[in-house]
């Protein structure tokens, strides 16, 4: 087994675009789940509307730079639409409604009825040329040793991580403000916050909308990198990637989602590399083939999520015990 290669692949994933995009997505979810205590199991929907809002704008002849604010606006509207009727519900009901709403949205987007707008199951491609045209980085490869990226990748990563930093700065300001104190109070004890005269429903709705807007940006980063949006990319699994990342980094912490995302993608690729190598070396015998690595990785992901939530709900670095949130 080429240990160096496995480590380099894992490092590449840990600093690459998926890690940046999921850091961003998790920052949005962290605001909802970590700070406000909302169990939003449909976070992937905001990534979907962000990416589709942008892609459809370009497809209809608009500029990419117009598409980005439109995508964000779509996600804010989605938060309002989903949140307004459901945020009065208890946590478990909210989880059911949000995951159902996200699946409904995906099914509608892929339907032939919406196809004139969304191109159905084929999705929309090649809408981000404007973004790559701005790439100031000369052609060539950049990096250390065997860990190298091409100019396109470097440009994408620079922008992706810059957006992550901006989002972190924004969340820092937001959570240090009186607004941030109120949403944390809602997480700890909704009734107490209400008895102090706070409009709990309004704060929850705002948190859902802002988190959704950040999720939309994450969807756009992924979509721009792939120059592709297809409905079946936005499956519930993505929401639970973000959940795992938030819990890994520590819910309700500023840098938690970023650390969580880097660690998550490093481990995810590392596992993949080790298992692939193990199959090549024949350690599994005839028990497992190369095509089983993907599913097995997801199964281990599930075990990891269970273990984390059961034993380290405060994250790998967290120490606080305030994460024993209860929805009842």
């Amino acid at each position: 087994m080429d240990v160096v290669k496995v480590l380099i692949d894992a490092t590449r994933a840990a600093v690459g675009i998926p890690a940046a995009a999921f850091a961003l997505s998790s920052i949005g979810l962290n605001l909802q789940f970590g700070y406000t205590g909302l169990l939003n199991f449909g976070h992937v929907a905001s990534m979907l509307v962000g990416a589709y809002g942008m892609a459809i704008t370009v497809e209809m002849g608009g500029s990419l730079w117009l598409g980005i604010p439109i995508g964000v606006l779509c996600a804010v509207m989605l938060g309002l639409l989903v949140g307004a009727p459901t945020l009065r519900l208890r946590a478990d009901y909210l989880a059911i409604v949000t995951i159902a709403a996200a699946e409904m949205l995906r099914l509608v987007v892929r339907s032939s009825l919406a196809a004139p707008l969304t191109k159905g199951i084929f999705g929309i491609q090649a809408f981000a040329d404007e973004f790559f045209a701005l790439n100031p980085i000369p052609n060539g490869y950049y990096g250390i040793g065997r860990l190298r990226f091409d100019a396109r990748g470097v440009w994408m990563m620079l922008v992706g991580w810059a957006v992550v930093l901006l989002a972190i700065a924004f969340i820092h300001r937001l959570t240090a403000s009186p607004w941030g104190r109120v949403i944390r109070a809602i997480r700890e004890d909704e009734d107490a916050a209400r008895s102090l005269g706070k409009n709990v429903f309004g704060y929850k709705l705002q948190s859902l909308m802002i988190g959704g807007a950040i999720g939309a940006l994450a969807g756009m980063v992924l979509a721009i990198d792939q120059q592709n949006v297809t409905p079946d990319n936005y499956i519930p699994l993505l929401t639970f990637y973000a959940f795992t990342i938030v819990i890994l980094g520590g819910p309700g912490t500023l840098w938690g989602p970023v650390i969580g995302s880097v660690v998550f993608w490093f481990l995810f690729e590392l596992l993949d590399g080790i298992m692939t190598a193990a199959v090549v070396e024949g350690w599994f015998g005839s028990l497992l083939g190369a095509s089983d690595i993907g599913p097995l990785r997801f199964a281990l992901f599930g075990i990891g999520l269970m273990w984390l939530m059961a034993f380290r709900p405060q994250g790998i670095f967290g120490t606080r015990e305030e994460m024993l949130i209860d929805g009842r």
Partner: protein, 426 residues
């Protein structure tokens, strides 16, 4: 003479080889055979029109020939294939009205993709909306029976522990897959039992898995006073673990059981239906009645309802709450396993079939009232019928959307469900 014969045979052989090759020569195609099947009568149907659509626009069409064969050359891609009902001769109709349109036919490079429209008597081209509705109603009842079986467990477990188990859909899959290994697998254990016999070990296995889950996972978590939210997220983790482990062992292809694969339609009270649907409905009604009697009449059932109502009070009146919860898990998972076998008989066995059902299960339990077993039964049937009947007015691909729409609307107007008691859920 022998030489001539041999030559003719060789020519025929070449022709036989060439015919499928011809289809590939022009690239890819979608093909099929229009055949009227009524009991032992099989005859080709000529002149049936087939439309091929891509992105909502018509790309090609074809007509079946005297042998009932049709073939339409297309480039690789995903197509929507429709049969033109008006072109069917009188007395010939689709056996399954839901399959007038095949929304996603994937044609790969160089492939002559076969699709099948099952033709039979009964639902004819001039079939009235009422007959079609009656047919869909029966299909809806069958689907509702499956959803109801799968929903009771989720609702019961919620009622005694307060946990919404996101891994419940994968218990359904587990039942279906386990039955597959006893019924159709050539590998271990290679028993080839009839599916109704194979269902027994499958249900036992699923029930045992439910019990093991409670003992090894949920009870320790409750003891540590884990919050509801962490348990929800843990059930998600368990769902992924189960689903993808099943994928590793079962692989991605959908596979049928060996029994009840293709059945001819029968006509009951003027409604054309597949016999296995009737069996599924009848069997489910019996099981549901048994569950109802168990809950209402037996000591254990009463205890279950007592724990659901108030665990502390039940404990102090001498009920062994932990034992009741364990029984609930075993019964609920077993029913999910049974639902899985039924689902597998009705369609095919696939690694993510339970997850696809999960959102419909949610719709059913929320509709009936989360935590009420009878509500889950009613909700299951309502969802099943609503989903199938909706295809009368909306495209088939919106089936699930309809169910989820019912779920969302129900939560907004009557969150406690049809049969639930009013309580604070906000």
């Amino acid at each position: 003479m022998a030489r001539v014969l041999a030559g003719t045979a060789a020519a025929l052989f070449v022709l036989a080889l060439a015919t499928p090759a011809l289809a590939q020569d022009g690239g890819q195609s979608i093909k099929g055979k229009m055949e009227f099947i009524d009991g032992d009568v099989r005859q080709p149907v000529e002149g049936v029109e087939i439309l091929v659509l891509h992105d909502g626009t018509l790309v090609a069409s074809g007509v079946s020939d005297a042998a009932g064969d049709w073939e339409i050359p297309v480039p690789p891609g995903t197509y929507r294939v429709e049969i033109v009902l008006e072109s069917l001769p009188e007395g010939v109709g689709l056996t399954d009205p839901g399959r007038q349109v095949l929304p996603e036919v994937v044609v790969r490079d160089g492939q002559a993709k076969s699709v099948r429209f099952a033709l039979g008597p009964g639902l004819t081209s001039d079939v009235g909306t009422w007959d079609r509705a009656a047919g869909l109603f029966v299909i809806g009842l069958k689907f509702g029976a499956i959803v109801a079986l799968a929903s009771i467990g989720l609702s019961l477990v919620f009622s005694v522990t307060g946990l919404v188990n996101f891994a419940h859909g994968d218990a359904v899959t587990l039942g279906a897959v386990a039955a597959f290994y006893f019924n159709a697998s050539n590998a271990w254990p290679g028993l080839h039992w009839h599916i109704l016999l194979a269902a027994i070990p499958a249900i036992a296995l699923t029930a045992a898995f439910g019990g093991a889950q409670e003992l090894l996972l949920w009870r320790p978590l409750r003891k540590r006073q884990s919050s509801l939210i962490s348990m929800l997220v843990i059930s998600i983790g368990l769902a992924f673990t189960m689903r993808y482990l099943i994928l590793v062992f079962f692989k991605g292809l959908p596979r049928p059981y060996t029994n009840y694969v293709i059945q001819d339609n029968i006509s009951v009270l003027g409604v054309s239906l597949v016999p296995k649907n009737l069996v599924i409905i009848a069997f489910t009604v019996i099981v549901l009645a048994a569950v109802g009697l168990f809950l209402q009449r037996t000591k254990l059932g009463t205890a279950m309802r007592a724990v659901a109502d108030n665990p502390d009070l039940s404990e102090s009146s001498g009920i062994d709450v932990n034992r009741v919860v364990l029984v609930t898990w075993v019964v609920g998972s077993g029913l999910a396993g049974l639902g899985g076998v039924m689902f597998g008989i009705s369609e095919q066995v696939q690694w993510d079939m339970g997850f696809k059902l999960l959102l419909l299960i949610f719709a059913a339990v929320v509709l009936g009232g989360l935590g009420t077993a009878f509500g889950a039964m009613v909700g299951g049937f309502v969802i099943g019928v609503a989903v199938e009947m909706s295809t009368l007015v909306v495209p088939t691909e919106f089936k699930t959307v309809i169910a989820l729409g019912v779920l969302v609307v129900m939560l907004l107007v009557r969150p406690q469900g049809l049969l639930g008691d009013r309580e604070r859920i906000g």
